[in-house]
Symmetry: C2
Subunit: 408 residues, 2 copies
């Protein structure tokens, strides 16, 4: 029988995609929808980047070198140097966004049947790419009550088998906003060196760290051979559609593998590279990023404080990124709640879209009373959105209580 | 022990990459190198495309929808309609070049351990992606003496096992320039429907067909459920660096699988999509492509005629693309010959770089006296390059004869 591969048949569509048509319908019906579900900045892309694209010296739009234009790689190297990270352009390849970066990392670290440890809740596309590549995700479960910091290292060590090849995480993290402390990473580093594991760190939110520090995996000398850095310009300069990032490692075998993987997909997009080169050539680029970070920090505080007024909400103040992962103890199926908000609720014509928590877990049943909220809206809208959310939670609970009475 | 995956360790670097530093050294030493090895057009990218990029209405460079901007998909649909191919935008997804397209197709059709039939010589990245995804390439060997047309269908049928999931080819083909006749495709279609195989046709050279016709796989009604079209704008509008293509199928399960694969890599590049939308909105776009095709047709004839004057050369006139695959009966290791041309030979300070044939075969030992030559140079340069090549072949043969005498 003609049928698609198991690897694609088993891929789950995202809950957000299931909810999206409901949001469209709500808007068609005249409702205002506050999108707290979205994972991309709302801030205009810097002028210097856009000008770099428009002024790109291109007559024939040819393939760039498969590892990226030399100038792009050198610009990345200078950028890392500003964080005290010493890299050679030969240790770095330009990728088609962070997505291609962690795909390359999984392909390089794992064969089909291998296992990869990932702290959950995690970015769902890690699991998707692992599945496509025949790799089993073994979750390291973290708890909202711990601010999603890592559990004791002994517990993580017990998850390691002879098929474990790597530990993968984002730092600061999507969807939780946790920024791992240096001691946490050193704990993982000890495991990695003892058990011969790669440590794959996805760091697009580096600058978006408001408390503590964003510790790059490349700053741990003991991980010289083990560390694989995945990065992306999408979040820090609001350029998600550029599809541009990089992958770096000081392990020569890793770099050689990535070089070959890069060749078989030809090249990253050319225009975006000229945008990035121009942006990083602007002497004021750090200030441009800094202004964006200040805005997100203020939004984080505003959203956190507002959420704290919702009865039943359990949350910790996240150190970075632009998400807050919240538990609402009064609900038990956050996808049903998200649907309710779009189809059956409004407050003065307004409602809120949230990202259901279960999609961020590998462990069955986890996340069913949690949601991810992104703060990529202006603060007054965030405040308004939380009021709507609070009213929606009340209405949802009341309606369920009524339904229960009726069933009796 | 910490080590990279077998799937990446087994990937071969391309022979061109091995030769590239020698070409750089030759140029540094003052030689002119005619690059007959290159697989991308030398013709300026159309103005309308470039203007579409520069005038893109972008403030926040956000992710595009994972299947592409609605207008991009509609533009592709209108483009196919102009060839009499009826598609719905729901049957089509925008990809990051043809490379992502055939990667999606392999992921959709095959699990690890499955087999895929590919006529050889083939585009080497098919084999690379198959290897990364644990899929075995089973070559259908074709011969220069047949102009690389397919062998009798019975011979192909004998290659099918219970692990065979798909037949993959480019049409018109890189590296041979063959354009399959409708009867050939109908023969494959019969096999595919009888044995439940997907037929994946990679058609970036559609317009670059000079004799015969480019038969799109989507024009065979019997393959309604089996056909997967992979396409790219790279070659037909000289926009390789745009990284833009699409994948289309009328099989709902295939489209659903591709939709999920698209989600887990987020989106294709945004700027390039605006370039394509603008290009396809230009009422004169067919004429723009037509002028490019006329230029390549004339170059093909010029290169073919010139090569015919080289003693020992075996070749057939290719129907399409911009390559001629040639056998030189006087050599037995075309990579060694390619190296010789760059390091030990020049004619009045000029030399030629060729793509060795073996890299395009899966069968061990095949292609060792063949090379792929691309006609992406102006005609006077092509003529000059062939003179240099002829002299180089003579010098190579004489030197080897002398070396043999010495050894005696």
């Amino acid at each position: 029988m003609l049928s698609v591969s198991n690897r694609t048949a088993q891929l789950e569509g995202s809950p957000i995609r299931r909810l999206a048509p409901l949001a469209v319908a709500a808007k068609k019906a005249g409702k205002t929808v506050y999108h707290l579900n979205i994972g991309q900045p709302d801030i205009p892309t810097p002028r210097s980047f856009m000008d770099g694209v428009k002024d790109a010296p291109i007559d024939v739009l040819s393939y760039s070198p498969s590892r990226g234009i030399a100038e792009t790689r050198e610009a990345f190297v200078r950028y890392y140097a500003s964080f005290g990270i010493d890299l050679d352009p030969e240790e770095l390849s330009v990728t088609i966004g962070g997505s291609e970066g962690f795909t390359f990392a999984i392909q390089t670290a794992c064969n089909p049947g291998d296992e990869i440890l990932i702290p959950e809740p995690f970015y769902p596309n890690y699991k998707g790419q692992a599945l496509v590549h025949g790799v089993k995700v073994v979750p390291i479960t973290t708890r909202i009550e711990d601010g999603f910091h890592l559990p004791p290292i002994e517990g993580i060590e017990r998850l390691i088998t002879d098929r474990t090849r790597a530990i993968l995480f984002s730092n600061p993290a999507n969807p939780t906003g946790v920024a791992y402390r240096r001691e946490e990473l050193e704990g993982l580093a000890k495991l990695a060196t003892e058990h011969d594991l790669f440590v794959i760190s996805d760091e697009p939110y580096r600058e978006l760290t408001y408390d503590g520090e964003a510790v790059s995996i490349l700053s741990l000398p003991e991980l010289r051979e083990h560390a694989i850095l995945v990065d992306s310009i999408s979040k820090r300069i609001s350029a998600c559609g550029a599809r541009l990032g990089c992958i770096a490692s000081r392990n020569k075998d890793v770099i050689s593998a990535i070089d070959k993987l890069s060749q078989i997909r030809l090249s990253p997009p050319t225009f975006s590279q000229y945008g990035l080169i121009a942006f990083l050539r602007d002497p004021g680029y750090k200030e441009t990023i800094g202004r964006m970070v200040a805005k997100f920090r203020s939004r984080r505080d505003t959203l956190f404080d507002a959420l704290g007024t919702i009865p039943g909400a359990v949350l910790r103040k996240p150190e970075g990124a632009f998400y807050i992962f919240v538990k609402f103890t009064q609900i038990d199926d956050s996808e049903a709640f998200a649907r309710f908000m779009l189809t059956d609720f409004d407050m003065d014509g307004e409602t809120v879209m949230v990202a259901p928590g279960a999609g961020f877990y590998a462990t069955e049943g986890k996340g069913s009373n949690e949601v991810r909220l992104a703060y990529v809206l202006e603060e007054e809208k965030l405040i308004r959105a939380v009021s709507v959310l609070r009213a929606g939670l009340e209405a949802y609970v009341n309606r369920r209580a009524e339904a229960t009475v009726e069933i009796r």
